[in-house]
């Protein structure tokens, strides 16, 4: 579906939705749609937070509540106009989210989720204990939203407040996700290491998403307060938070539109259940809770880890505008140092895991314009050395210096910013993005426009520049034909080349490749070796870790051989091959010899 046709379809859909209240549809359905819209606002944020960003939050309802109480309090106590309280609510909730986020987001993983439960419950109890908030009765008499003399009291009119808001939220989210920041967000879930290697400040990006989701929830809260005109704590309990999560889990099987589907499913189900169960039993109250809980469990059984990976795989966004190869603005490459001068110096690094010495007083140099191979049998410490250089691990002793800059003890983002680009052993690409977008992620540090400009689509020029850069790297490696293919559909050989293209997009001075030939067929290995030789001609320095000796022997300038974390040989390939110590290391020694 072309972009134009897609926009037309979306426009048609919007028009249809907006016409609904004018047709003779019963009010109860319109009310349902209002509630769906309110829920969708929160769920869109939650889908991005949890599905895309990988942070499971059980407490989005708390943010809805903060906003709802803020506006209810300000409009009833101080008589402020709701239109004034809207930006105030968004601001207040945003600030709260920032503070809570600073405390919560660094925790990561399941502790982050546990933290959301903790403060979610805290905030809920706070609502019920502060005198000014009316305790368990909440705040009543909240005024309706008014424009001129017209009050949005009736459901049918309120519909026209909610759904345009939902539309705007979807638009802003879509813009955000297809921007430079968006690519970083999409790399968060499961590929954070990769993002850092491209120079992304992952903590900052995570906070951005956290606050964004909270602000969306705050809009919902503001609308909710002025629709119900009564605000009580029960709407913002842990249960409510779980309900939003359920909506995100159900609907997460598609687009951002999945949030709409999930919200609709749960709201309608709840409405139906209340009717049915109230008819069957005399006691009201907790039956929907049983069904919702059971539904959550059932869905998790049906697709336990699959739902989020399904989201990522099918989260298709309109293909980004790609400039023509020749008219792409040319970004001047960083000046390469003179051939032969030392570029990377490893000096006496030692690393222990537990009691075991994994890298032992290792020293070597990588010189400009050469391809250096780091080899050794299994468990020799090659990957550890690699990770120390790239900043993923810290050595106990020794240092890593890159063009005079100390890299050891600093983050992977730092190394990336200094011009060290790396690939990964298992070809890490973000599965939900196209090849071009993956390579563009490598150019993350070339841009500077943040989330706000992205949402407002004020970053078009910068995006063109970034994509131009990415296109050129793909051309350099002969990958132009697969530019728009989905990353998940590539063969291993293609994926490895795309990784290299992404590393090149960083405009690196040193290219570090982690087992680039592993798993490739013979023909693919030849092709890769040729591409690497070509890059060497262009003046790029390469450090590579490899097992495949045949691949290496004709490719590298020099070899460094490790065994038990110690350097046992260094020199030209032909010499290494004859080296007795190397032979013993690889083939072993006969026992009793």
């Amino acid at each position: 579906m072309t972009a134009a046709r897609k926009y037309a379809a979306v426009a048609l859909g919007c028009a249809a939705v907006l016409c609904l209240p004018l047709l003779g549809i019963p009010t109860s359905w319109i009310t349902l749609m209002v509630y769906i819209g309110l829920a969708a606002l929160v769920t869109v944020g939650l889908v991005i937070l949890t599905g895309v960003g990988g942070m499971t939050s059980f407490a989005q309802a708390a943010f809805v509540g903060i906003s709802a109480y803020t506006t209810a309090y300000l409009t009833t106590r101080y008589g402020l106009s709701p239109w004034l309280t809207l930006p105030l609510c968004m601001l207040a909730t945003g600030v709260c989210a920032l503070v809570i986020g600073l405390a919560t987001v660094p925790l990561g993983g399941h502790f982050l989720s546990i933290a959301t439960i903790a403060w979610g419950v805290s905030v809920y109890y706070l609502f019920g204990t502060v005198e000014a908030f009316g305790l368990n009765n909440g705040i009543t008499g909240v005024p309706a939203i008014a424009v001129g003399g017209f009050e949005f009291k009736e459901t049918r009119s309120f519909f026209y407040l909610v759904w345009p808001a939902v539309g705007l939220a979807l638009l802003a989210s879509s813009n955000l996700l297809s921007s430079r920041v968006g690519r970083a967000i999409r790399a968060l879930h499961g590929q954070a290491e990769l993002a850092r290697a491209c120079g992304v400040d992952t903590m900052r990006v995570k906070l951005t998403v956290f606050v964004f989701a909270a602000v969306l929830a705050s809009v919902s809260g503001w609308l909710f307060a002025h629709f119900q005109r009564v605000v009580t704590p029960t709407s913002f309990s842990l249960e409510a938070g779980l309900e939003y999560l359920l909506m995100a889990v159900i609907g997460g099987s598609g687009h951002l539109y999945g949030a709409l589907a999930g919200s609709a499913a749960v709201v309608i189900l709840r409405g139906q259940l209340e009717g049915v169960l109230n008819g069957l039993f005399n006691l009201t109250g907790n039956y929907e809770v049983i069904v919702l809980g059971a539904l959550l469990i059932a869905i998790l059984h049906a697709a336990p880890d699959g739902i989020w990976s399904v989201v990522r795989r099918f989260c298709r966004l309109p293909a980004p505008r790609v400039p023509e190869g020749s008219t792409a603005p040319d970004v001047s490459p960083a000046a390469q140092p003179e051939r032969g001068t030392p570029v990377l110096t490893i000096d006496g690094i030692t690393k222990r895991f537990g009691g075991l010495v994994v890298v032992n007083d290792l020293s070597f140099q990588v010189r400009a314009g050469e391809i250096l191979g780091l080899i050794g049998p299994n468990g020799a410490g090659k990957s550890t050395t690699f990770n120390i250089i790239s900043g993923a691990l810290y050595p106990e002793h020794g240092s890593v210096t890159f063009l005079g800059d100390r890299l050891s003890g600093r983050s992977p983002e730092y190394a990336a910013r200094r011009g060290v680009a790396r690939t990964f052993q298992h070809a890490r690409l973000v599965p939900g993005m196209s090849v071009l977008e993956n390579v563009a992620l490598g150019a993350h540090r070339r841009g500077k426009h943040g989330a706000l400009r992205a949402m407002l689509r004020m970053n078009v020029a910068e995006e063109l520049e970034i994509f131009g850069l990415a296109t050129r790297q793909l051309e350099r490696l002969g990958l132009s034909s697969i530019m728009h293919r989905h990353a998940a559909s590539l063969s291993l050989g293609e994926a490895r080349l795309v990784e290299i293209a992404r590393a090149l997009a960083l405009d690196p001075l040193l290219l570090m490749l982690d087992e680039p030939a592993a798993g490739l067929r013979h023909g693919e290995k030849q092709a890769l070796a040729e591409k690497l030789r070509a890059l060497r001609e262009q003046g790029i320095t390469v450090l590579l870790v490899e097992h495949d000796m045949g691949f290496l022997m004709s490719l590298v300038n020099r070899l460094v051989v490790l065994n038990f974390g110690t350097k046992i040989a260094e020199g030209l390939p032909c010499d290494i091959r004859q080296d007795r110590a190397v032979q013993v290391a690889y083939l072993g020694e006969a026992i009793g010899a």
Partner: protein, 244 residues
């Protein structure tokens, strides 16, 4: 070797990780009371083969143990049927004592006497473990951990014992000790499948050898004959060198 006389027979084993085919059409046979070794360069698929045989990985192909088709059996069943694996990571219970680790090795057996008997046999075979019986497994040296891992599997005598790189991370002297112990196991009638980095040492103690590369069997035959085969060097260190 005819499949009927083999204890363990593998036909067309295949393992895939996403796009990569780690093991492709591997067939091997293990005779009772023999040592079979699987050698090859890194990434050849040796560990994946062992894991698939144990049932830790899902795989295609056919597996027959002592005449019984066990292809459909899961890990728990294969353990009960007498397959044992000492993985590369050893998977010891670090926070528990040596003796507790051994006792748990005998978990399958209900009889207290059998476990006692197994303990004594292991302490006789590995006197160093007896010295350290109350020590926490996590504080043992590399060689002792390897011994404990093997002893654990031997508590209830397995029919086929599989060892994944037992010499990994061990000093040469210790390697000698460990591999000699492995050779002795054969005397007790057990079948052993050995995956080893130290190809030369492995070929010395094994009866039959299979050489793997890129997930496939490239060569198979008598282990001792392969020791003197120059092609092995090529396989590990690459072919002729071209100027860079």
């Amino acid at each position: 070797m005819a499949p009927e006389t083999s204890l363990l027979s593998v036909e067309g084993l295949g393992v895939s990780y996403g796009r990569t085919r780690a093991v492709d059409g591997v067939s091997l046979t293990v005779a009772p009371g023999s040592i079979v070794t699987l050698i090859g360069a890194n990434g050849a698929g040796k560990t994946s083969t062992l894991n698939a045989l144990m049932g830790l990985l899902s795989a295609t192909g056919r597996l027959v143990l002592d005449g019984e088709d066990i292809t459909a059996s899961g890990l728990d069943e294969r353990v009960a049927m007498g397959l044992a694996l000492v993985p590369e990571s050893r998977d010891l219970f670090g926070g528990m004592s040596v003796e507790d680790n051994l006792i748990l090795g005998g978990y399958r057996s209900r009889s207290r006497r059998a476990i006692q008997h197994g303990l004594e046999a292991n302490y006789a075979r590995f006197p160093r473990l007896k010295e350290r019986r109350t020590q926490l497994a996590g504080t043992l040296s590399g060689g002792e951990r390897q011994m404990l891992a093997m002893a654990r599997c031997l508590m209830v005598t397995p029919r086929v014992l599989m060892l994944d790189e037992p010499s990994l991370g061990l000093a040469p002297k210790v390697v000698e000790e460990v591999l000699r112990l492995v050779a002795e196991l054969k005397r007790d009638g057990m079948a052993v499948v050995l995956v080893e980095q130290n190809a030369r040492a492995a070929l010395q103690i094994a009866d039959r050898a299979y050489v793997m590369e890129l997930g496939q069997i490239r060569q198979e035959g008598d282990a001792r004959a392969m020791l003197s085969d120059p092609r092995i060097v090529d396989l590990y260190l690459g072919g002729q060198v071209q100027p860079a």
